[in-house]
Amino acid sequence: MTQTKQTIEEKILNQIREHNIKQKPKWQFVLHTFFLSTITLVALLLTLYLVAFISLISDEHELINMFGLGPQFTLVFLKAIPWMLIGLLVVIFIILQILIRYFSFAYTRSVLVTLAATFLVIVCSNLILVTLDPRHNIARFGERSNIPVLREMHSTFRNEKQRGAIRGVIADISNTTYTVETIKGSTTVTFLITPSTRILSQENLKLGDVVLVVASQAEGFLQASVVRNEISRNTKDAKTKTPLPREIRPRPVDGNI
């Protein structure tokens, strides 16, 4: 028995000497840990940024206000959700989860507990971000920076006005169009009004009214599918007027904007 033990010990030592097996230097492990920590940190920051960006998109596309439009707009609402960003967020979240579990501080917890903890940390951090940064400055970082992917991501998702809804003040009305100055973006958007456009208002829409417009891209124009009067700027005046039928159908479109 002792002979066998010695043989194995000797075999191992002989292999180390004969094959000149070296210990991996400590700096390699330190570098490895540093590398993984950096990736974890970057993934965490990217997750936070994406959550902030999705929050900005949801805000600009009035996703919350679209809830009130009724069940017939469920499909429009679902289409307006930035699924691609959410998918990207989920992928990064899974990578983050694997990285966190790689470090020993997470191995004593079950997958669901670490998953829930990571999710909670991200949601809480985002709530703090939204509170401290109501103008979404952090989410707009990509807009200001020269990082190519972020810039493209911003222009792609934030210019998609046909997705979701736009909330703003009516700046101009013609027979076939409404021009709305957005409240959040301070930009002007012109919508095509067609016979199929539903206008949800107690009174005739007029300049200065705050409206929520759901529109989609059609033949190069933004075609409004619903215009809902939010809060009339002249509420006192609105109260004195007799309410009109809920839906007012404008004349059919006979030309471009």
Binding site: L13, K26, Y107, T108, S110, V111, L112
Partner: protein, 187 residues
């Protein structure tokens, strides 16, 4: 002169190859027993054992001396055993096993009396080849290698609560197999 395990590790980390012989000597029997019982069907135990110690030598700079050495070494042995099973296309435990997915209530570490432990060890030996791999390894580490729940959790990188749950389920499976074979005596 007698050297402690910690001193030997420090000497190896400082480049003393001979000090590594002390560690091999201290753990060789335990790791061999663990591998033999875990990979009962193989004749390559000696090769795997050598790989375990060579890997331990190569990675010893990553070992933190403030921690216990045995879970670290068993972890390497576990990885080598799993690699062997995968190479030979023998089913192993999946990465996202249900046991590690959901939280379990903390299962208190049981202080089994010595005679009971011996009986359980004999029972495990009798039906070793029939026990599911995920229970087999944990039962071996607990009953044969005398590792604590915490050390097993460190070795297998799973929650401590899962260790307790798997030991209980493993014991139950051993009991069921013994019953089926008509060999059951009260554990």
């Amino acid at each position: 002169m007698e050297v402690s395990e910690s001193e030997a590790i420090q000497q190896v980390q400082n480049g003393d190859v001979n000090a590594f012989a002390f560690l091999v000597h201290s753990y060789e029997a335990r790791i061999t027993r663990y591998l033999k019982k875990f990979l009962y069907q193989t004749e390559d135990i000696e090769d795997i054992l050598q790989d375990v110690f060579l890997k331990a030598y190569m990675h010893i700079q990553s070992f933190d001396r403030t921690h216990s050495f045995s879970p670290w070494l068993y972890r390497i042995a576990h990885n080598e055993a799993i690699n062997f099973l995968k190479k030979n296309k023998i089913k192993t435990v999946s990465l996202f096993d249900v046991d590690t997915l959901f939280p379990h209530p903390i299962a208190a570490e049981q202080s089994d009396i010595e005679s009971e432990r011996e009986l359980i060890k004999k029972s495990i030996d009798t039906v070793l080849t029939d026990i599911d791999i995920k229970y087999r390894e944990i039962l071996l580490l607990y009953f044969y290698e005398d590792l604590s729940y915490k050390e097993i959790a460190q070795t297998l990188q799973m929650p401590v609560a899962t260790v307790g749950v798997r030991i209980q389920r493993g014991k139950k499976q051993v009991e069921d197999i013994l019953r089926k074979k008509g060999l059951y005596t009260e554990l």
